[in-house]
């Protein structure tokens, strides 16, 4: 018996184990209401991701008639993915705990950690982006009949997506991957350069080479599984200490939940706030109908806030929201503690937005910012209104969440897809309400307002109900 043989055996078993994990997920053992609700959320995002890829070209063609939509997407999709990875460097990530049960078995630890790195890629936040890429590729082939170009586009985008995900999973935790920072960005900058100057063929052929280089480097250097047990290690770098010490509640939440969600949420919100200021200034000079704009944005804000926030109520595990809503919470202190960090971190994306706006005259990022602004406002309203009424059952013990809600990547995905719909709406040619006049817009606006204004009410009612029945609902 050798380690190589047993590792091969385990790889075969892993697919069975993963399938059983999905089939036996606690999600399917909850009440039918939560199953239906979560299914709706799932279908909603699948819809957005798949049809976003199909219809994005219509939006871009109307917006930028002098540019090829394919070149616009080819340029900006990788940039968005890479920027998302850049932000994820600063947003500390916890390691994947799924690998732990396998470490004591007679299997090669390097192969194991490599396999689980790639399993980590197939998560519910990366898969929608992958769906978008695939659906866009299909649309590209159907429209232009240029099979090779479309496939090259698909390969390049998937490569950037995979390695940005792996990069953000590994680089923060391991000093051995410092060199990979330079390798990764060197490779991806060169790919983006080739794409920008329409050398997609070159990019397509280089992708397998770059993939092999990255895979080889990860295989030969990856030892991140050690870090599963290094939670007690105090961050040494001044920068990380600053991150830990600059938050009011996140430090305590992270120590108990070992979850960095709050840090991510704060960073996303901070970015949204500053970007939103740019939006407001831009709207002053825009000629769009501000009333319709506001109505539709409120609709989407309420809709998405509902989807993003309520999902955790039916989460099997405790998470940071259970804790944060249980304690007396000062919103003033929370915002004040984040101000300095927000100002510093927002300078980075603000420069990126500015470059996109000035150099490429692309207002798409401005609309993304306005969307972000609405999301942050709505979520703060929800947090503020909910904290006073929710009493946690047992604040002394919170298990590490095995189904992390990771809004960071989700937000970036939503930015791209939903912003396209919003831009489509500005033009009056909405995918589901095409050529609508004021009355339907008003209807959707009212729906959004009702959802927003009632959010504190239904949030409190549902939370109180769930608190009383949580153990019964999440029955064994």
């Amino acid at each position: 018996m050798t380690i190589n043989n047993t590792t091969s055996l385990l790889i075969k078993e892993l697919f069975t184990i993963k399938w059983l994990e999905i089939k036996r997920s606690p999600f399917f053992r909850k009440k039918i209401v939560s199953i239906i609700f979560n299914s709706i959320v799932f279908i909603n995002f699948i819809f957005f991701s798949f049809f976003g890829g199909i219809y994005i070209n219509h939006i871009l063609t109307r917006l930028y008639p002098n540019k090829s939509p394919y070149s616009v997407v080819s340029i900006y999709l990788p940039l968005i993915i890479v920027i998302s990875a850049l932000l994820r460097i600063f947003i500390l990530k916890i390691m994947n705990w799924d690998i732990k049960p396998f470490l004591h078995w007679p299997v090669s630890k390097k192969r194991l950690s490599f396999i689980f790195l790639f399993f980590s890629f197939f998560n519910k936040y990366t898969l929608p982006v992958l769906l978008f890429i695939i659906s866009y590729t299909i649309e590209w082939i159907q429209e232009t009949h240029s099979f090779q170009t479309a496939i090259f586009f698909c390969l390049v985008q998937i490569y950037i997506l995979i390695f940005s995900e792996l990069f953000s999973l590994t680089v923060v935790k391991s000093s051995q991957f410092r060199i990979s920072i330079f390798i990764f960005f060197l490779l991806n900058i060169s790919l983006s350069y080739l794409i920008t100057y329409h050398y997609l063929y070159a990019a397509g052929w280089l992708t397998p080479i770059f993939s092999v280089i990255n895979i080889y480097y990860i295989i030969t250097n990856h030892n991140d599984y050690y870090l599963l047990f290094e939670n007690r290690k105090y961050p040494k770098s001044t920068y990380r200490k600053f991150i830990y010490l600059s938050f009011y509640n996140e430090i305590n939440v992270k120590r108990i939940t070992r979850n960095s969600i709050l840090i991510k949420m704060t960073v996303i919100y901070a970015i949204c706030m500053i970007a939103g200021l740019v939006t407001i200034l831009n709207h002053v000079n825009q000629s769009e109908d501000p009333f319709r704009l506001t109505l539709m944005l409120i609709f989407f804000s309420g809709h998405l806030t509902f989807l993003l926030t309520v999902g955790h109520l039916f989460n099997w595990d405790y998470n940071w929201r259970d804790f944060i809503f249980a304690k007396p919470f000062s919103l003033y202190k929370y915002v004040k503690s984040n101000v300095f960090f927000a100002i510093i971190l927002c300078l980075i994306p603000s420069f990126i937005y500015l470059i996109a706006y000035i150099v490429y005259s692309l207002p798409i990022f401005i609309y993304l910012s306005s969307f972000c602004l609405y999301i942050i406002i709505i979520n703060y309203i929800l947090a503020f209104s909910s904290i006073k009424n929710y009493h946690f059952v047992n604040p002394n013990y919170i298990s590490p969440s095995t189904s992390d809600f990771r809004p960071g990547r989700l937000f970036f995905f939503i930015f791209f897809i939903i912003a396209g719909y919003i831009i489509y709406l500005f033009d009056g040619s909405v995918i589901i309400i095409s050529h609508m006049n004021l009355l339907p817009s008003l209807f959707f606006g009212v729906i959004g307002i009702v959802m927003l204004l009632s959010a504190p009410v239904w949030f409190r009612i549902i939370l109180r109900y769930l608190k009383q029945n949580k153990y019964n609902m999440f029955s064994r």
Binding site: M1, T2, I3, T6, L9, L10, E13, I17, L20, E21, R24, S25, W97, K100, P101, L103, H104, W105, P106, V107, S108, K109, N223, Y226, L228, F229, E230, R232, K233, Y234, K236, R476
Partner: protein, 228 residues
Amino acid sequence: MIRIQNLSKSYGDFFQLSIPELIIPDRKIVGVVGNNGAGKTTLLRCILDLVKVDNGSIFINDFKVNKNDQWKIITGSYLDESFLIDHLTAFEYFRISAELYKVPVNIMQERLNSYSNFISSLDMQHTLIRDLSSGNKKKTGLVSNFIVQPSLFIFDEPFAGLDPSSRNRLKSILKTLREKENMTMLISSHDLDYIYEICDEILVLQNGAVSQTLNQKEHNLEDLKKIF
């Protein structure tokens, strides 16, 4: 069997494990005792290459644990329930363990039957591991090692969380495995009575270092209890 040289491990400024030299001989049951925070679990994790040591080397049968994975073929371990795959049933977990250690299914079944008294309260076929009580989870983890019978067992507090009858049965299982299968065992525990009864040698860890080594021939239980 296990050889440790110049081992040191710390977690920032808060903890340090420092063992210049330690040898766990073959076919012995060696116990590790110590107060909370003494470094028992850290020592076991270092031996199992679950944490990265700061300095030093650990060898299991001349295989350096952090360089070569071949030692895992002869090693079975159970530290805590987070090492179980909680969405499997106990039987599925046993089957995978047996498959990885190349134990045929019929032999696995035979061995399971021989431990039927120990796992009588365990619903192996239908209940998922995550729905088991903590005691039954522990039994699952322990038995998954018993059925494969590697040369070396490493257990972290195996008696904790078990009812008195199960503790007695576990004690006799460990003794039988050592006598009949010539196994080497490294067990950490707070249960001084059980540890004294089954272990040939007992290492006392204090502040991350081995302060004393006791054995059954030269020391009695009172000597061990006096340390604490």
